[in-house]
């Protein structure tokens, strides 16, 4: 049997393979260039996606506050609305702003959502000194507890008049110490604002925070 056809076929294949090398290398270059171009396009797309995701997160936060705000504005009964960012407390009914008050938050700000007024009046043991008509200190074992007007939300946040901060500190001059612990977090209002809304506050009243 002659080996010539086989040899010729191998030579032809070798030549064809050799001839394909430049084409394959050209294709490689083209595909690498295309891949680089696609990766180049992916970078702005990723940036767009990142910004959209970031935007959506910020919009989602706005959505949470907008939901609380909408619920507050749609609430028909008398309630309070605390606007954390603008430092405003509003007395509202039927979406009508009855009173808009400057509010300063002390401590950790309440998270967005709905709270209720939990405490309006609190009973405390009376530790203030008792004196007789001559000013002598006397002991009184059967003293009724004092009632203290405190407006507190169910998360412990307290409504405090701004001029009450002095009351929260022990007075060295009188030796009198306050039996009421200062609130961990508080919404401070002008005293006249708190006086104006106080008769309208009832236990269970909603406080929308956004």
């Amino acid at each position: 049997m002659s080996t010539r056809p086989v040899v010729l076929a191998l030579v032809a294949a070798g030549l064809a393979g050799g001839a394909a090398v430049p084409w394959l290398l050209a294709r490689e270059r083209a595909w690498l260039a295309e891949a680089a171009a696609l990766r180049g396009q992916a970078a702005p797309a990723q940036a767009t996606l990142d910004s959209l995701v970031g935007l959506t997160d910020s919009v989602r936060r706005r959505l949470v506050t907008a939901r609380v705000r909408a619920a507050s504005r749609g609430e028909p009964s008398l309630h309070l609305e605390l606007q954390r960012d603008s430092g405003v407390l509003v007395l509202l009914r039927d979406g009508i702003e009855l009173r808009r008050m400057r509010a300063v938050l002390l401590g950790e700000a309440p998270s967005p959502g709905v709270r209720t007024l939990a405490t309006l009046v609190e009973q405390l043991p009376d530790s203030s000194p008792v004196v007789d008509t001559l000013g002598r200190s006397i002991r009184d074992s059967a003293r009724a507890p004092r009632t203290v007007d405190r407006v507190r939300l169910d998360d412990g946040t307290e409504l405090v008049p701004t001029d009450a901060t002095a009351l929260l500190l022990p007075s060295a001059a009188t030796g009198d110490t306050l039996a009421v612990a200062p609130p961990r977090r508080a919404i401070t209002l002008a005293a006249r604002d708190l006086r104006a809304i106080r008769p309208n506050l009832v236990t269970g009243m909603k406080v929308y925070t956004w």
């Binding site: 040899v7 010729l8 050799g18 394959l24 295309e34 959209l52 104006a196 809304i197």
Partner: protein, 292 residues
Amino acid sequence: MVTRAAARPVASRRAASLSRGATVAALVVALAGAAGATWAGVRAWAARTARDAARAALAAEARKVDAARRAQGAVDDTLRTLLAVGAPPSGRPVIVVSLADNRLRVLQDGEELYATRIASGSGRTLVGGGGATRYKFDTPRGRLTVLSKETSPKWAPPDWHYVEKAGKKGLGLLRLKPGQAIPVAGGVITTRGRDVVKRTADGHTVPLRASDGREIVVGGRIVIPPGGYNQRRYPEVLGTHRLNLGDGYALHGTNAPSSIGRSVSHGCVRLRNEDIETLYRMIPVGTAVYIY
């Protein structure tokens, strides 16, 4: 001498040697070609794979961007809807009264149209009937409605007015019933039509006059006329206009403008006459009144 027969194998060997050389060379060429093609093919395949991966990654990014855009659009729509919630009814005024500040405001769509000072309930408690009856002079908090409006309103004093006057003057009280006759010097005090009258012994009747602070007094007792009688209708006390809120409460003017700005009324919201006149023109019946 090489014979022909001897030369043939030599030529044959040469030819065979040449044939082997060509074959080897051909094999080398074939191997080189195949190796080059394989090398280039592998590189090209890797490049194409990288291209395909980049294309798939870009498509995935594009899908994520589309999804994020759709989500953001939906969120924006929801946000717009939510932010539109809670606006007060458009084009209708509301009245807001602060009792602590003795201040009244007229709002419309969040804008303040009018603001003025008022007098509101004193919060006092009046005890009458020997302690049996208590009258609390508070302005009611909550949402009320303007039920009707009137000009030149006349005040029909409630019972507490007579209790209060009797207490201040140290007098007693006498409730006159329709048709009842109370003997007085020179005749009787009785009723005729919608009037409280004095009938003299000769049968002559004279309607009596009564006003705020000048009530009918008989034998050390203030006479309480029957409800709806003319002697129980005082002009000017309520000023020039009145906006009725129901249950006897109203926004009205006054004949005592110096009381404005204080908590001194018996429960109504009292305004200066020029203010209540403005409200009378500005406020339609049905307007909500929020008192806090």
